[in-house]
């Protein structure tokens, strides 16, 4: 009798451990997460418009049908990303997610305070490698540190009524998301040899 009781208690306790481990592991092993669902239909380091949410669409649950949505799936391994999103008439926002769908940053048109939301997205290492001089001159550009090398940028524009959806989509279509091929060329002459500095720091 005691043996059976003991087995049950041990089983429940072990069950608790299994539960905790599986909850913590789920974000890493889930194969049907938003990133995986978007991978086949989006281009890397480019803006892809998503179709407007409708009942036949099972791409992702809980999409807001009042919003035009576009996605830029990014990979920072080849360099920082430059993002520019023109503000639509009603409401525009840009949200950033890691590879594991963690929302780490979001900004809307009003907090950006400009007609075009302009952002530089880079990894922390790339941010550190940025010459300080340029950091100052680029003070009006917002720099976002991505915790992971890959992830998603989600652009949203509100259509206040269904008839304005085309307009919201058009404003998102004018946005761009691309790898920064060169540091701004005009500045390069003033900043000789910026790259090796952080490397040396790292070695010590």
């Amino acid at each position: 009798m005691i043996r059976i009781l003991f087995t049950i208690i041990a089983g429940v306790l072990l069950g608790g451990v299994v539960h905790l481990v599986s909850v913590l592991a789920l974000p890493r092993i889930a194969s049907e997460d938003a990133y995986s669902r978007l991978t086949p239909i989006t281009k890397l380091n480019a803006v892809t418009q998503l179709p407007v949410a409708d009942p036949s669409d099972t791409l992702m649950p809980y999409l807001d049908p009042a919003l035009a949505v576009a996605v830029c799936r990014y990979d920072l391994s080849t360099g920082p990303i430059k993002l520019s999103v023109p503000v639509s008439q009603a409401y525009t926002s840009v949200s950033f997610y890691t590879r594991n769908d963690l929302a780490y940053y979001a900004i809307n048109d009003r907090s950006a305070g400009k007609k075009v939301i302009e952002l530089d997205l880079m990894t922390e290492a790339q941010h550190e490698a940025l010459p300080e001089d340029e950091d100052v001159t680029a003070a009006d550009r917002l720099i976002i540190d991505s915790p992971s090398a890959t992830g998603l940028i989600v652009l949203k524009a509100l259509a206040p009524e269904p008839g304005l959806m085309a307009q919201a989509q058009a404003s998102l279509a004018a946005s761009s998301c691309k790898v920064q091929v060169d540091q701004p060329t005009a500045k390069q002459a003033e900043v000789p040899m910026p790259a090796p500095a952080p490397l040396q720091r790292g070695k010590r």
């Binding site: 299994v18 669409d57 807001d64 949200s95 509100l158 206040p160």
Partner: protein, 181 residues
């Protein structure tokens, strides 16, 4: 065997039905203010990845969900439900009807929700949205007659968030079932 059953069973339950962890409940509405931040709790994270959704980022807005009316009666698509009153401060809001899996419900009007801009309001700025399977005057949101549905009220560009605690900070609309066939 028992361990695996108990453990995975618990995980399945908590990620499907959600936990009370870190929730903000005002009237019939529930939100998870931390879901759009890096402080998200592990249960919400597991739920988000399992369902394949992208939570709304905190700098963007917040989403409130209601699965039952103010009297805790589950929302039934065959009944007449009225959502009325005021919403918390926000630049825009949208109210959307989903089935239990988070998909929109097909209807001939192609009306899946309302935005704060298109809603018909009374003189004092309040509004009433009639949710029913048959056409209603004013703001009618069709249910398609499905048995269970949920409502999601999303506030965009809003001060409501992690610091919000009570109804005074965020007055949410009432939900009342006014009649069932």
């Amino acid at each position: 065997m028992l361990a695996a059953a108990v453990g995975l069973g618990l995980t399945w339950m908590t990620t499907t039905r959600g936990t009370e962890l870190g929730t903000l409940t005002i009237g019939a509405w529930t939100a998870r203010p931390r879901i759009g931040t890096t402080d998200i709790d592990p249960y919400s994270r597991a739920t988000v990845t399992r369902n394949g959704e992208l939570p709304i980022g905190t700098g963007d807005g917040i989403a409130f969900t209601a699965r039952a009316d103010d009297k805790k009666k589950p929302l039934d698509g065959r009944c007449d439900v009225v959502v009325s009153g005021v919403t918390p401060a926000a630049r825009f809001w949208t109210l959307t009807l989903y089935d239990n899996k988070g998909h929109l419900v097909a209807n001939s009007l192609q009306r899946y929700g309302f935005t704060s801009e298109e809603i018909v309001r009374s003189a004092d700025g309040g509004f009433e949205i009639h949710i029913a399977s048959r056409a209603r005057a004013g703001n009618w949101l069709p249910t398609g007659g499905i048995e269970r549905y949920l409502l999601m009220l999303r506030l965009y560009d809003t001060p409501v968030g992690v610091a919000t605690r009570t109804k005074r900070d965020a007055p949410m609309p009432q939900i009342a079932t006014v009649g069932c066939p």
